[in-house]
Subunit: 453 residues, 2 copies
């Protein structure tokens, strides 16, 4: 390590290398709340510096964990094998702002919010909208193919990147994709890198495809007697020709949490709620809202209406995460996805597993994608409860797979779900993925042990 | 080869193996019009049969060229190294029709049109729309990441596939992606296979994501004095918040061809034309049309108007390809893409190169993506002209790359553009692609020599 550090010091000035454990500690964790301090933190400013560092790590066989702003929840950026945390947070340049071609080119440290702020004056936005958008970086967004509530209409990160520059685990600089919205020359390495959680290459620049801002936004809320009737409404809404720009589901547990804080906000008998956003011209919003209100009508509908104050609507939704953290600071937060039509069966199954293992859970999320955040409200100091939660989680994942779903819609596997990935990916396909990893990173330098061991 | 054939005969019944050169001839070419007969044609019906054949090819080192309906224009399905043409045209089952989850699962031989016909009664469509949609198969659509006029609003194939089953060149059955619209578990092998032109794996099943049919469709036409003013209008249109569902450009050469056949159809002074489609509710169409008509206004605009008969509009566009073939049956048809703002410079450059090399060209295409079909109207029997055309094409590709464009927006590289791929992809990135090829297909069995040698 001391040879390595000497050489690293020849690559970067002292203010861009941390070795003091106190400094390194801030780079030891992400939102998975697991803590593994790196031996050293480096802050490259250019692709060339990234490349030089990766080459050095290969020579000395030092693990390198790339890192954006550490907002991930699956432990993808936790340097759990020590070595170097490569923080891209100082690669902050937006090198191209080209609204006429609907393109922004940015370095990985640029915040998602900065991209939005840059695009907005020209009438555009970049659709990926993780809840961390205000303080997560686009490098991290790409590494996880981040998405959020608006994915139901606009898709996730992989649909909104035209190309990248990256340094492979081997230390080679590559350029993928193109600058235009169409392009089929060679293999789609862009999408291969997006969502690869920093295990194949370090992204040093991304060409982002912009989307026109909608003219206006409208909101609706609908309350239902129970999960089953709410899920039926979700299916009806998703078969309309108007796709909502967000379709968020809150179960009874979520609603009870909100009631505790805002007693007047919700009808007393609501057992499940949809928070819906539509966008477009004012006329489109009127039309879409009418169609959605009609699709909500079933035996279990208690009330459904348009809301004028959409900002307030989303604040209520955003208040939920802190409320959940208040009652269970170390909750287990999953982001499984099931086919929309199986939501009733899935929610029913969750309820049964919750009873069986006596682990309380709260479920909410991006219903239009079938993407449900399952929160197990556990106390990690209660070993018996943690043991039951682990068994419960295992059965939840089995249920998801049985319903033809997927273990993660937006968080990724990281280290947190590594033990479960075999439930979804068969051994042959997994071996192929490991072989691809080996092509990019023969010495297993880049984020070793993430996704798979 | 005789051992190979004996073993192949033990895998498939006689009516699913062709060895007679007369029968094989129909599988010797695609729309690139190059002819290389295979030694044998096989028609598997199941993924297991595909796998058994690929394994056999590995044992005997026999090249295997997967093939849909042979509508590609880049020679991707031409068995130019002999061996076996693997025709997927009899794998015709649609195994899942699941409108509530917006999914159709289909085998590779299913025609694009069949998918549309299956989805339509439920109010959905599958957006990829190559001009061959009526008779091209989804396996081929995936192999090339096919797109067409509607890609400007809806994207290409890679945005509309959730997952695939495939047999790698090694002969291993893999399963990629998932059944839901979100999913970030493991590497995105789905997108890696889409557009890989049958060089990595044979796709044996695809999970297609459906999109709601628009309520209605509207059309507009706009005529301009020249390319420059038309290109300016394209930029204005693409900066609107309403994205057209198609934005097709026809240059003076295209218009003259149409005039020859339909003298009354076009204004005499039109030097460039846009054919525009908008979709949505009737109100949206009214709004979008007004915005687009306004965006067309510039010094060079001759006239712009809504057209009621959109079917007629598209028939005129579709008439162009046969007209071009009438005057130049062996024309060179490229599908380069340039950033939209560079269209004026690109079209001007094309004009100069056409004069310089005395090769007449006709340019048209998907302007909203900057995807221009450059047709060099050559006679292959004229060796001097072919020689000039080759030099001209080389300079056209250089111009495309200089403008930050890409060599192919929808046709792919196949064998036709293999000699030019190095202009776009640097040697390091190309080596990485070849290494990936080796992981999937270590014996170089699958479509050898396509994309790169």
């Amino acid at each position: 390590m001391s040879d390595f550090l000497t050489q690293l010091n020849s690559l970067l000035p002292p203010d861009r290398i941390y070795t003091d454990p106190v400094d390194c500690y801030a780079y030891a964790y992400d939102n998975s709340q697991k803590i593994y301090p790196p031996d050293v933190v480096a802050f490259p400013l250019t692709s060339d510096e990234v490349q030089a560092i990766v080459v050095l790590c290969n020579i000395h066989k030092v693990p390198l964990t790339p890192r954006g702003r550490g907002t991930g929840t699956a432990g993808g950026s936790v340097p759990d094998q020590g070595g170097i945390a490569l923080s891209l947070e100082r690669m902050l340049r937006i090198t191209v702002v080209d609204p006429a071609n609907r393109v922004i080119v940015a370095e990985p440290g640029v915040l998602n919010q900065t991209v939005q702020d840059t695009a907005k004056p020209y009438g555009f936005f970049w659709p990926p909208d993780p809840s961390s958008a205000a303080y997560s970086s686009i490098g991290g967004n790409l590494a996880t193919s981040a998405g959020g509530p608006h994915a139901v209409k606009y898709g996730t990160t992989r649909e909104h990147v035209l190309g990248v520059k990256a340094v492979t685990g081997k230390g080679e600089a590559v350029k993928t994709g193109c600058y235009t919205t169409k392009g089929v020359v060679g293999y789609d390495l862009t999408r291969l890198l997006i969502g690869s959680e920093g295990t194949l290459a370090v992204i040093t620049e991304a060409t982002l495809k912009l989307t026109p801002l909608p003219q206006a936004i409208g909101g609706l809320v609908a309350h239902f007697r129970d999960d089953a009737s709410c899920a039926a409404a979700i299916v009806s809404i998703m078969s309309l020709s108007q796709t909502p720009s967000a379709l968020e589901f809150l179960d009874a547990g979520s609603l009870n949490l909100i009631r505790g804080r805002f007693p007047e906000m919700l009808p007393a008998d609501s057992g499940a709620m949809l928070m819906i956003e539509v966008d477009g011209s004012p006329r489109e919003i009127t039309e879409s809202s009418a169609a959605i209100l009609s699709a909500c009508k079933n035996d279990g509908l208690l009330q459904a209406e348009c809301v004028l104050d959409t900002i307030n609507l989303w604040q209520m939704r955003k208040a939920l995460s802190p409320l959940l953290r208040d009652i269970a600071p170390k909750k287990i937060n999953e982001d499984v996805v099931v086919p929309i039509t199986t939501l009733p069966e899935f929610l029913n199954g969750l309820s049964k597993l919750s009873s069986q293992y006596q682990v309380s859970n709260v479920n909410l999320g991006h219903a239009g994608n079938g993407n449900i955040h399952v929160n197990l409200l556990v106390n990690p100091d209660n070993l018996d409860e943690m043991n039951r939660a682990e068994k419960c989680l295992n059965e939840i994942f089995d249920l998801v797979i049985r319903l033809n779903g997927t273990l993660s819609g937006e968080h990724g596997i990281g280290r947190e779900k590594r033990a479960y990935i075999d439930k979804e990916i068969d051994i042959t396909t997994m071996t192929l993925m490991k072989d691809i990893k080996r092509v990019f990173d023969p010495n297993n330098i880049l984020n070793p042990g993430k996704l798979f061991l």
